[in-house]
Symmetry: C2
Subunit: 341 residues, 2 copies
């Protein structure tokens, strides 16, 4: 049994294929009521389903939205994807998903494949190298944009394309201020990869706000943007600061540039017998959903993750060749993990 085609519907309704097409999909010029009804009835009886591939070929657009994330299992990204999904559904777009495992080769391949599939837009979530963008990737995007494709990035402003930009630098500064005003005097940082813009911005925003108050970080360590990256970095940090359980000393306040890293850090310290916030304090960034049930509750900068995903879809759907930029502020929330005695 072959799939029923538009032609089958047309034959059954006793009209031409063009007419059937118009009543079933065409917007303007809907044929006379009687005809339209006959066509719709025929389509229903036959169980007609338009072939999206054929429609895409005949029309300009595919209705496909390409979405690329570093790791779909990371709560930061899965929250964003949720927002994208919801917005895409109301816009009647289908989402083509790629999770790159933080591998830039895979990322580039994904872009290439999405272009082959003629996605109407490509959303790139997760920051990239700052400075010189991968040459090959840029070439892909140039080609894509030249052919009418829209690209929007979440997290880093590229030299081209639209962007949804969390105010990482500014919000990190506000976090530093809030912490200092809460009485913290000693700071340290667990940063991310040096070629990831988001990591760098957050670290800089924090450190610069501190220096404005005449404060300096005692130590800085860094690692991959993952739970394990935070875990490993935290061990090095503990060694550097010679942290001891219940030493009685004023706890150092550590800024982990990501909630996920902060959680890894807390796990590492717990294994060493260190208690947060008694022996060491820590703040994160993002406000991933997981935090809700984490102990101790984590001080962080709240980012509206789902809304960010939805906004990316809005920018992606925006007709017009101009590139848009949407800034998203973060909100500092102090919780148990930075509570002073």
């Amino acid at each position: 049994m072959a799939a029923v085609r538009l032609q089958d519907v047309a034959a059954r309704a006793g009209v031409s294929q063009a007419t059937a097409s118009r009543v079933l999909n065409g917007s303007t010029r809907i044929p006379g009521e009687g005809v339209a009804d006959r066509v719709r009835a025929a389509a229903r009886e036959l169980g007609y389903k338009p072939n999206a591939q054929a429609q895409a070929l005949a029309r300009a657009s595919t209705g496909l939205l390409g979405l690329i994330v570093h790791d779909i299992a990371d709560p930061y990204f899965s929250s964003i994807v949720r927002g994208v999904q919801t917005a895409a559904r109301t816009a009647r777009k289908q989402v083509l998903l790629a999770s790159t495992d933080r591998d830039f080769d895979i990322e580039r391949e994904s872009v290439s494949t999405f272009i082959s599939h003629r996605a109407d837009a490509i959303v790139l979530a997760g920051s990239r190298q700052s400075g010189d963008l991968d040459r090959a990737l840029e070439a892909e995007f140039d080609y894509y944009r030249a052919n009418g494709g829209r690209v929007v990035v979440i997290g880093q402003p590229l030299a081209f394309g639209s962007a949804v930009e969390p105010e990482n630098h500014c919000a990190s500064g506000q976090l530093a201020d809030a912490l200092a005003e809460a009485g913290h005097t000693q700071f340290a940082v667990i940063g991310g990869p040096g070629n990831i813009r988001t990591a760098v911005d957050r670290r800089n925003g924090f450190v610069e706000a501190l220096s404005r108050r005449g404060l300096t970080t005692m130590v800085e360590v860094s690692g991959p943007f993952t739970r394990d990256g935070g875990y490993a970095a935290a061990r090095r940090l503990a060694a550097a600061l010679q942290l001891r359980p219940d030493s009685g000393a004023t706890p150092v306040c550590v800024f982990a540039v990501t909630d996920v890293m902060a959680i890894g850090a807390i796990a590492a310290w717990r294994e060493m017998g260190l208690v947060v916030p008694r022996d060491v304090c820590v703040a994160g960034f993002d406000d991933i959903p997981t935090l809700r049930d984490h102990t101790p509750s984590l001080t962080t900068v709240v980012l509206p993750l789902e809304a960010i995903g939805a906004q990316a879809v809005q920018l992606a759907l925006h007709s017009g060749s101009d590139d848009l930029r949407e800034r998203v502020p973060g909100q500092v929330v102090l919780r148990d993990s930075t509570r002073l005695p």
Copy 2:
């Protein structure tokens, strides 16, 4: 600037379109070296990218894999999706993702859309109503399968299609046994929706294993398959059992049919001043990644979530019209949340 077509490549290489097609995509009968090289060079110089839509129309398959989950932000599903992504990538398939928000209407629409896009296979993750499957959904699938589409479900065996089935009933029984052998004597259950097969199987497996030992649950409550569902159910359970902080009584052991619900339950109890496992014990199911950094550590049944996603892809890619069934055992792991004094 229009996208470069195969014809452009052929012209530049001085060969026919058929030849260009064969060297660039066709498998058998690769033309002579010289010709092939010229075509490849032309394709590279022009930046040719095959139009996947056109290829899909001309060939039989689209290379698309439709994946439907209840909620992409739920760690259970995002872990599975990660496994699907990885397997799909190695199989060179693209993933079309739909997150339904646990709405069966949206689920049906997603299936319908995936069929329109002529996905080669559709993977449905998340259990459905047991018994009478949504009539409309079934009709969609019948049509789809009749046209060569493969469907594979994760979690529930449908009347048709392939399936990756965690051994919910059996593993829950093993969990009950392990708990009883650890010394627990009083039990309760936080179950899921009555029309969700997975929830029912897990509850039954647990309760039946208990009864084999002459034990009965003291109370059973249930709620939606979510963190908040577990939270609300836990409050009702606490009221029913009249749980009090530090009462000194032997803690009741509660089986929440999902880790996500168990985490919500612990949060509810914590707010009531109840301490796990001192005042109440709890075990979950799934072993979502989040558990790794949860306090207290949660007793659960480990399911290889990513592997399950990967297996679903294998079944989806399996050529042949026969339906396959893959059973996945769970492994009980006892942790702090059920530790007796």
